[in-house]
């Protein structure tokens, strides 16, 4: 199954892991210690994060070090920007619509058209 960054951040635990790693490279065990969920659960989340490229794990001696690749998150901000552009245009359109004068009801202005019949 192909992974992508949207899937990665859909889960609150994974978002917490990214936040934790955002400022620092950390040993995998230290990361796991920060969470109340089980080690296998942390491993599962880490697997998804690495598969989508948000986290890389490198082996140094006996330790697995985790670090984030936050550039991948621009995929998300780009996506949200698309909607920002879309809604900005919509709100502009609403503004134009609101400024238009009220469409005038066709008004019945006169009475019956009168014909004068000239009597001879």
């Amino acid at each position: 199954m192909r992974r992508d960054v949207f899937q990665a951040i859909a889960d609150p635990n994974r978002r917490a892991i990214i936040n934790l790693l955002a400022g620092q490279k950390m040993n995998l065990n230290s990361v796991a210690d920060q969470f109340e969920i089980s080690r296998p659960a942390v491993s599962k989340h880490m697997k998804i994060l690495t598969e989508c490229g948000l986290v890389t794990i490198t082996l140094q001696g006996r330790d697995h070090y985790c670090e984030t690749n936050l550039k991948k998150l621009t995929e998300v901000t780009d996506w949200i920007d698309t909607f920002k552009v879309f809604w900005t245009k919509k709100l502009d359109a609403l503004g134009d619509f609101l400024e238009k004068p009220e469409p005038e009801e066709p008004q019945y202005t006169g009475g019956v058209m009168k014909f004068k019949i000239k009597k001879k």
């Binding site: 199954m1 992508d4 951040i9 859909a10 936040n19 709100l91 609403l94 400024e99």
Partner: protein
């Protein structure tokens, strides 16, 4: 990282009642928003439309369901692309400001739209083309 909702604000030089009608009355919505077949500002009401205005193009088919209505104040509906099994929520809130109306538009859950098997790039293209058409229409 940010998973905050998309929030846009505008102040319109129009009374709140007029803005409410523009965003919640079918005939008014059709003139600036989407060519909706039907719409009712009633919780539970479901409606469907095509994001690129082309009925043949199922990729942009959008389903929505009204989830909150406070007349003159708040209107919210879910917004889900049929091609992507994620549900986002669009909320319109109106505030009176000395005869003008502040509109706050919130679109939540955009980051949950899964990318797998989802044609995001072509979707972007679709919106761009659609918005171009909208601009042309408005400048007529």
């Amino acid at each position: 990282m940010s998973t905050a909702p998309l929030v846009l604000e505008r102040v319109y030089n129009a009374p709140i009642g007029k803005v409410w009608t523009a965003i919640s009355d079918l005939e008014h919505m059709r003139k600036w928003y989407f060519k909706l077949d039907e719409f009712k500002a009633e919780v539970g009401f479901e409606f469907h439309f095509y994001g690129d205005g082309n009925k043949e193009n199922l990729k942009y088919a959008t389903s929505a369901r009204v989830v909150a209505v406070e007349p003159g104040k708040k209107l919210a509906y879910t917004w889900s692309l049929d091609a992507a099994p994620a549900i986002t929520t669009v909320t319109w809130e109106l505030f009176e400001e000395g005869g003008n109306t502040r509109l706050v538009l919130t679109h939540e859950g955009l980051e949950t739209i899964p990318g797998t098997d989802y044609p995001r790039d072509s979707f972007n293209g679709g919106w761009t083309s659609f918005m171009g058409k909208l601009d042309n229409y408005l400048s007529l």
